[in-house]
Symmetry: C4
Subunit: 222 residues, 4 copies
């Protein structure tokens, strides 16, 4: 895409600080939600860290926008970055990209497409699921008539939602919790699509290579 | 299809009035269902608008049937128009078609197939979901033993149904509500098929292009 | 497959009687389950018709086995016929085959693959769903603590199961009802696979034909 | 893969004892969970057999690791064996491999890819489902407020989970039971992917062969 040297240099320099910041973001948010008995001072500190790291992400986004010099089209052209800005929990997804860059520099082969899709989908679902469970738990724990009362309940409910199983023994009752839930359902649909699509394209590939001659029936993650 | 000039001219002339009519249709139906405290006069006005706009759609369908001059086969040959006649809420789907026509005239490229499928599926599901939630809410709100008591409940239940999650914490209890629900389940299955199918065909495409040489791993919405 | 003239002649002769028999089979079973107030005589008559038509199916299967002269391998080679013998409700699926034979004789084109898959899947799911609802209702209606109390409940539950939504507001509680339910779940999975697979292969086809040159974006049912 | 003669010889010699051991493993675990009134002596015997057979699997894994002489990379290169070591219930999956080896020696053709995928998926899901039902039942039967009270309930719940239907009329309430449940949900997603993927690739194959000329519309299991 933009092999502009200034953008590349900026990205190389900010890689490590931003990875640390995204870890801090997730940790501070989790502490704020999960540690009930925390004194008010530490709770405020967590909030400050959360907001501070998010400001860093916004700054990074602005700088790269300026460097690209491409005006309002930047938002749609770098839609993945825009999504990451709004949902900073997805930032660790960049780890896969970094790992691949390192690997290619050493002359190693690229990860197979299926392995990459499954790695991305697995990581994204794990991170979004954790964040979704946190957010739903924060909304539901004090609500009257709530069935999600512990963080364990929230995680259990998140797993049932992402797998599109949906037992309904626990379910959000507040409006905010249900909005988060709809987001998680969309993730579940996408996860299902990724799993099914990978399987289907892998089968087709194996089949055509079997027909061609070499019969290498290695499964997708092999 | 039918590049007959009279049909084309008719379609160009009715495009804008019918788009306005379909917006009126949806709005008047929503107002009638959602505004409880509305005086009887306004409720009747809403009903009149709903029926009036639907009559417009029926008229447009009849005129195009006549212009095509193809007898009873028109119903199956233009099955999408027939579906739109019965479910006028799907009419806004034509927006995608109009947008594409405009774009091609300006020499811009067609939307990628995956982008189109996802845009159509997303729009159709949003419109059908909204209409389904309205219809279920209308049937359920007065029923004894109903669990869907507010419009928020109806929207929440619709989302859980379309994602095939189905918690069951709220569910329709009347016969009419359940018939609408079965229609929404069919939409959910189709949505799942669209998401999964797009993913799978996108993966296969990327794979074959990677094997060919160029390694452009852009995701479907890119 | 077996273009042996005796088998073909047998099949042509038995086509109509067996189609009538399968309709009788389904109707008599439905009457026995649904008509509560039926006098004992008519109930026994229905049972006799059900068993009698099934005996006809078994006879037809045996005759065709003999005519084929292929020993025990017939069971696996004609697995679809074996399945139809055990689940005679699937016999109406043959209607699609008959319709196609007629069409080809008249020189008409074959139905498109997607149209055929969707027609078969739709018919099979409708028939199995109806039979499953009947069977579950028969098991559940007298059970203590049952939530499926009317045939409407059974149909509603069947739809939710086939779409893999599974609200759980009504669910079978008897062992026999749950065995039927597991069969319906398997049908639901297969239906999902058929819908998704058709969509995915249709998308890939359209894509390759678009790349080739002709841009005919007709949807599967068109 | 590793056609090293020592490894091959080891595998040929241990094939039968390990198959017997895996049957013993599953049987002793099932007896321990299901036979409530068993005297303490027999319960301990079952536990001993379970642990003993697992030690055999670990020994076999170690020996093959040594014979391969490939260091720590063995764990990822033979990831299927590693998974089987941790979940010995999957060992019977090897039966498919053994059956195919025998068939090929006799000059018979390989099973079609779809038949193999469906056989593997079906066997794996049946074994994992049975083991999952046992494990969940063991965790839940004594828990306060549990809805899974009999082994029949556990099997019913497992089927609803694997089909991603998830009624929620019975659902695990203990933390350990829910962890097993999440594993079963992942199996359900994979099963859905396998069913859908097989269907989709089979459709594409049939389509391309129909276009090519020969119209052989045999279904996947034919």
């Amino acid at each position: 895409m933009d092999d502009d040297s200034r953008t590349t240099r900026w990205e190389r320099r900010t890689e490590v600080p931003l990875a640390v910041a995204s870890m801090l973001f997730l940790t501070s948010y989790a502490i704020r939600v999960l540690a009930h008995g925390l004194p008010e001072f530490w709770r405020s500190a967590c909030l400050a860290v959360t907001l501070g790291t998010w400001t860093l992400f916004a700054l990074d986004y602005t700088v790269r926008w300026r460097l690209s010099g491409s005006g309002p089209r930047f938002v749609t052209a770098h839609w993945l970055d825009t999504v990451v800005l709004v949902l900073p929990l997805l930032r660790p997804l960049r780890v896969v990209k970094v790992y691949e860059t390192v690997r290619r520099r050493r002359g190693g082969p690229r990860l197979a497409l299926h392995a990459r899709v499954i790695t991305y989908a697995g990581l994204a679902v794990a991170l979004l699921g954790f964040a979704g469970a946190l957010a739903v738990y924060q909304q539901e724990r004090g609500a009257p008539g709530a069935t999600i009362r512990t963080f364990g309940d929230a995680v259990w409910w998140t797993c049932a939602t992402l797998a599109t199983v949906g037992y309904g023994d626990v379910a959000p009752v507040t409006a905010a919790g249900r909005v988060v839930a709809v987001g998680l359902m969309a993730c579940g649909l996408a996860l299902l699509g990724a799993v099914t699509g990978s399987f289907s394209s892998w089968l087709l590939q194996v089949f055509s290579s079997e027909e061609g001659g070499g019969a290498n029936g290695k499964p997708p993650g092999g």
